[in-house]
């Protein structure tokens, strides 16, 4: 069953001068992690913003649960490339932000904030301000804020892209752990081939701008996974080389 369907989507900026993508189509199935892999600047963030109704298409349509997307929905949550924490809110307040706006009762909010703060490993930092945290910890808070909504669909925009390699792997493992316990639908944007293979059930490879779907790859590496187990899997190298060729084709051309 498809949760998200993107049909011949077109997006332009600058009154039509810059075509980010044109006639783009893809589908995200229920409870799968779909990784969208593409070179920097190809329009991945823009596509995700359109999926959440934060930007609007110039052509085609995006449908979530059989309804065309027009504005952000309560059962969809987003994690941002730039973390997007409010500098003036403490960690607990940032984590509570989404659930408060969803209008849940206070006891539920407190319970969720506690649970997800712990799940992302930020217990003890509830009263810290974002500036007091490392980048990795800030993104943990950004992740907890989205998870606390217990969304049906999670949209992730290169959430670990700006972190150092070690922190990134730790967070990838934790995301795998959290989502393998309770699989839900996730769209995960990345420009890292390794990350796409480690996290994705399928990978959609985009071309450079104007972005089209170059290919869709099934990641046939069994779950439960960890980053280490994926990298050690015999299929990993083949998948990586395949993705590499697809991405490079266009760069060289």
């Amino acid at each position: 069953m498809n949760r998200i369907v993107v049909e011949s989507a077109t997006k332009r900026f600058g009154s039509g001068v810059l075509t980010v993508f044109e006639g783009l189509g893809l589908a995200v199935r229920d409870k799968e992690t779909l990784c969208i892999l593409g070179p920097s600047g190809c329009g991945k963030t823009t596509l995700l913003r359109c999926m959440h109704g934060l930007a609007h298409l110039d052509g085609g349509r995006i449908v979530i649960d059989d309804l065309e997307v027009r504005a952000p929905r309560r059962n969809v949550a987003m994690v941002f490339q730039h973390f997007g924490l409010m500098p003036w809110k403490r960690v607990s307040e940032n984590v509570a932000y989404g659930v408060e706006l969803a209008g849940l009762p206070r006891t539920t909010i407190d319970e969720r904030v506690g649970r997800y703060t712990e799940m992302v490993g930020l217990t003890g930092f509830e009263r810290s301000y974002p500036y007091q945290l490392s980048g990795g910890m800030q993104q943990r808070a950004g992740l907890a804020r989205a998870l606390a909504l217990e969304p049906d669909i999670l949209l992730m925009d290169e959430p670990f892209g700006s972190l150092d390699a070690q922190t990134r792997e730790i967070l990838q493992d934790e995301l795998l752990r959290i989502y393998q316990q309770q699989p839900r639908t996730m769209v995960f944007i990345t420009h890292s081939i390794e990350e796409a293979i480690a996290l994705g059930d399928r990978i959609v490879v985009l071309t450079a701008r104007p972005a089209r779907v170059r290919d869709t790859i099934l990641v046939d590496i069994p779950r439960p996974r960890t980053v280490a187990s994926v990298v050690a899997h015999p299929r990993f190298v083949e998948l990586r080389d395949h993705c590499w060729r697809l991405l490079r084709e266009r760069l060289v051309a």
């Binding site: 913003r49 952000p72 706006l101 700006s162």
Partner: protein, 275 residues
């Protein structure tokens, strides 16, 4: 490692005249400061009268004049007159400036309505408008002096607030939208806190200018308060007494800046990272 953070887009959009964070000076800093003040006062005490006995009255004599002016009640009366005008004028300037700043920062129409007036009034030296105010308020009561204080203080707070609101990180506005923030909560959750460092900088600048406005009004319009004391003792060549209101104004300004910085550290503790 560079970690792009929300707010980094804005990192260059600093408020005019960044805050001086002197309250977190180390003890050794304070010793140097105290030594500097004592040294200058000492030299002044010993050598000042030798250079010009009329103008450079020694600090000890100024201190005696201070005690006299308190004892005969003159200073108290003048301070009450001045503070009344200063307080009212600053309060009006802050209330109007912050309100107009926020509204004009968010609304293009209001911005365009206000902008020509702000630009025009801000580029005229405020002092030049004081006689006009005096005439308009017919030299009567506190009103012309309050109006002068407002004129001096309102622009820095208005413009800073406006800048703060206009410089809200678009990334954070998008986060707010992504979580379905209502317009009302958008103000409380994002816009006002984002503008807070700018607003506090505006308040600090406004205080400095309000004090100038107060003294200027007392020179030119009211013949009351600390400014008037300065003029009276200048005319009678009591330079020692003339210094007293000057020092009182300076001390008041410093105390008020300290208070504002204390309040800022309480109200906006996250801005600590900005130093």
């Amino acid at each position: 490692m560079t970690v792009p953070r929300v707010g980094e887009v804005n990192a260059r959009a600093r408020p005019i005249s960044p805050a001086r964070r002197w309250w977190r000076a180390r003890p050794s800093d304070w010793m140097v400061r105290a030594a500097s003040v004592l040294a200058v006062l000492g030299i002044w005490e010993l050598f000042g009268p030798l250079l010009n006995p009329i103008i450079l009255r020694p600090p000890s004599q100024i201190f005696r004049a201070f005690v006299d002016l308190i004892a005969n009640g003159e200073l108290g009366v003048a301070m009450v007159q001045s503070m009344r005008v200063f307080g009212a004028g600053l309060a009006i300037a802050l209330a109007a400036g912050i309100t107009l700043g926020i509204v004009s920062g968010r609304s293009r129409v209001v911005y365009n309505v206000l902008d020509p007036w702000i630009s025009a009034l801000y580029s005229v030296p405020s002092v030049a408008l004081v006689p006009l105010i005096a005439v308009a308020f017919q030299y009567s009561g506190d009103a012309p002096r309050v109006a002068t204080v407002v004129l001096f203080a309102i622009f820095p707070i208005l413009i800073n607030t406006q800048q703060g609101v206009r410089n809200v990180d678009p990334g954070l506005l998008e986060v707010a939208r992504a979580f379905n923030t209502s317009e009302r909560r958008l103000w409380g959750d994002v816009i006002v806190p984002a503008a807070m460092p700018f607003i506090f900088t505006g308040i600090r600048l406004a205080i400095g200018r309000a004090l100038i406005g107060m003294i200027v009004a007392e020179f030119l319009v009211g013949l009351a308060g600390l400014g008037y004391l300065i003029i009276v003792y200048q005319n009678t060549f009591r330079i020692d007494k003339m210094f007293v209101p000057v020092i009182v104004v300076a001390a008041f300004g410093i105390a008020l800046m300290g208070l504002v910085q204390f309040v800022e550290s309480r109200v906006a503790p996250w801005t600590r990272r900005e130093q």
